[in-house]
Subunit: 412 residues, 2 copies
């Protein structure tokens, strides 16, 4: 999988999450791992998150000052977390005789737009990284942060360090971008729920994107999309073992038998149902315009068959946005003259994902049958080319994952 870049040696970008650098011992471990790559002749650029819970601790400090900190000052505050990590990792590398230098996002030249706390990367002028690599140094980049055109410090939002790693790997045309985390890779199902869940050795960007957005929580969808767009080969693996993890790339070997790659359950959503909406053209547009204005992330949307000119309309939102949703819904319900609105946060979304299902019929039927065999009622269904999701009662979520894992023979 190693691609040789223009520096004549294979360049690897490694990203270490907060749990991989949670304390000084783990930082030393990371340094040893990096050293082993250097000894094999690789050039290495490392992207690091803040130590353990540092970001949350800083946010708590801010919370003790004010309920509504300005986004600009929040960025000033929380960007310090990654700056601490990079300095400590550089020291740990020096200690074992590896030449290394730490750089902040602004020093690297990660230029973002003017948004604070969830800035978008506009470009990376990686001259400084190239210069340091040429000196034979390991370059340690503070993840999650950048600088806008006014020299203001910005941060990239959730999963920002992954994004830094993928963007740096793209810019440098790296042979591989390794994402180190506290899991060993991507599994056919959550190993805590399904005993015989199997680690996937390889998976496509598309499948991983569905898994990420479905709550597999290995990597943010946003970074996956950038990786896919620029074909950056990713390797999701654990910083606590030397085992191979899961490679994510566009070239997945075609294995006819593999219909489904994995099963996931997302318990972090709530269902909102608007009852008895007068069913006239454009009514959904009216409803979702107001919801989108309130910056609420709607996932599944189901509209039932119209009865007597009225219909029920259901959708799911992240649990964290349920209160915000309720605020908006009261106004919407009055506006569209619906009978009322019902909320349900005892739901789970169970999904099967796999590129194989594109060309195979009967996958959906098999899924519904498996759930039926355990007497699990399906509340909502949505499908894409490579995914089928069913909303069910939350208490059956683990059972549903197990029966689906077995039905699609994923443990083998």
């Amino acid at each position: 999988m190693v691609i040789f870049n223009d520096m004549g040696k294979s360049l690897i970008v490694q990203k270490y999450g907060g749990s991989s650098v949670a304390n000084t011992d783990r930082i030393k471990n990371v340094a040893n791992r990096i050293a082993s790559y250097r000894k094999k002749g690789h050039s290495v650029v490392v992207v690091v998150s803040a130590l353990g819970d540092t970001t949350d601790e800083l946010l708590e400090l801010a919370g003790r000052i004010t309920d509504k900190p300005s986004d600009r000052e929040l960025d000033m505050l929380i960007s310090t977390g990654e700056q601490v990590s990079v300095a400590l990792l550089a020291m740990a590398l020096h200690r074992i005789g590896i030449d290394a230098i730490s750089l902040t996002g602004p020093q690297v030249g990660i230029i973002t737009d003017r948004t604070h706390t969830k800035a978008k990367i506009l470009k990376i002028s990686a001259d400084r990284i190239r210069l340091e690599l040429k000196k034979g140094r390991v370059v340690i980049v503070a993840g999650f942060q950048g600088m806008n055109a006014d020299q203001e410090i910005t941060t990239l939002g959730r999963g920002g360090s992954d994004l830094t790693a993928v963007a740096v790997a793209t810019t440098l045309n790296a042979g591989m971008c390794e994402i180190y985390t506290d899991v060993e890779g991507v599994y056919t199902a959550d190993p805590r729920v399904v005993k015989d869940a199997k680690k996937l050795s390889v998976i496509s960007y598309e499948e991983m994107l569905e898994l990420a957005s479905l709550g597999a929580q290995v990597m943010q969808a946003r970074s996956m999309e950038v990786a896919k767009k620029y074909s950056v080969p990713l390797h999701i693996r654990s910083s606590f073992t030397d085992k191979e993890g899961t490679i994510i790339s566009k070239e997945v070997k075609a294995m006819e038998e593999v219909l489904v790659s994995g099963v996931t359950a997302n318990k972090g959503e709530a269902k909102v149902t608007i009852c008895d909406v007068p069913d006239r053209p454009g009514i959904a547009a009216v409803i979702f315009k107001d919801i989108s204005k309130a910056d609420i992330n709607v996932d599944m949307i189901i509209q039932n068959i119209s009865r007597k000119g009225h219909t029920d309309l259901s959708f799911t939102v992240p649990m964290a946005e349920l209160n915000k949703t309720k605020d908006v819904m009261n106004k919407i319900v009055r506006g569209v003259k619906a009978k009322g609105v019902v909320y349900n946060n005892e739901i789970a979304k169970v999904s099967i994902v796999g590129v194989g299902m594109k060309t195979h019929s009967g996958v959906a039927a098999k899924m519904f049958q498996a759930l039926a065999s355990k007497k699990i009622n399906i509340d909502m269904i949505s499908t894409s080319e490579i995914k089928i999701s069913c909303v069910i009662n939350k208490k059956y979520a683990d059972g549903a994952v197990r029966v689906l894992h077995k039905a699609f023979n994923l443990g083998k």
Copy 2:
């Protein structure tokens, strides 16, 4: 004392030390104090240190990684402390409706030389500060830090935040530079030792310089020297009360009676005596060349009268540098063919300081007599135009301060 600057309003620079911003409640207090200045129509630039013991905690983290962290990475690490403070203080000001913006040393344009951990400020391009002041904002500057010509983050060493404040005040031609600390000002003696020690309402740069270097620990000598050079009026005061502190300026009202402004004792030094050195020309130069090469800070130097072509040579060094000194001394003793070397860390240096003594004779005699009245033996003496210091046994230090305070009538 308020001088009007070119912005048409009196500009005040305030510096808050670590104890003044040790926790979020204290940060809110500081915000209230700043707000009261804004309401009086002042423009305010605030320089802030790291919260409480943050810098020490960061150094401890580094210490768990390596014994010998690189200076560059240390700066990367410890400069985060002030960045946290400025962001939190900006939030605290926003909370009470005061427009404010935080800036890092690099964002301000504090340009230093290439030294790390004790960089020298080369210049401050304060355009950004001026711009923000014109918008009516309180500008909060991270103390202690700057940037060198290579965009590297540097720190200014001990007392660095004071230096930032004085340098910013100079650059902006501020009417006053207030140094907030946990003491109420400069006293005639340490109030913990001398009950009737009096707060001085005003003192000259020269006297304060002597007091700073003598261990009064209110402000670093380095910042005092810059303040003196550019005639920045300073006000040393407490962030915990509204009482006036001590003004430091060059215009001290001449009061003929005031010979002595204060008495201090420094217990942080050790005495080194080289015994029976062959007394030939240049011998002191040889000795102190090696000591200075080892970067040891020598204070008092006394050479006794030569007897039979041999002399004793004594000097004092900071206690913290005694071990380093011992390493060098063995070589020196052999080199100059001295008989041996004796160390004494049971000493204290008691000093009286005052511009008045320049023109009055008899001050030294009065000092010696006061010490003699308590049967305190004097071991070494050194004098300058505005200071007389005596080295005595450490156990008599507090008693010596008391008797001198009384002898020069400082409690009145």
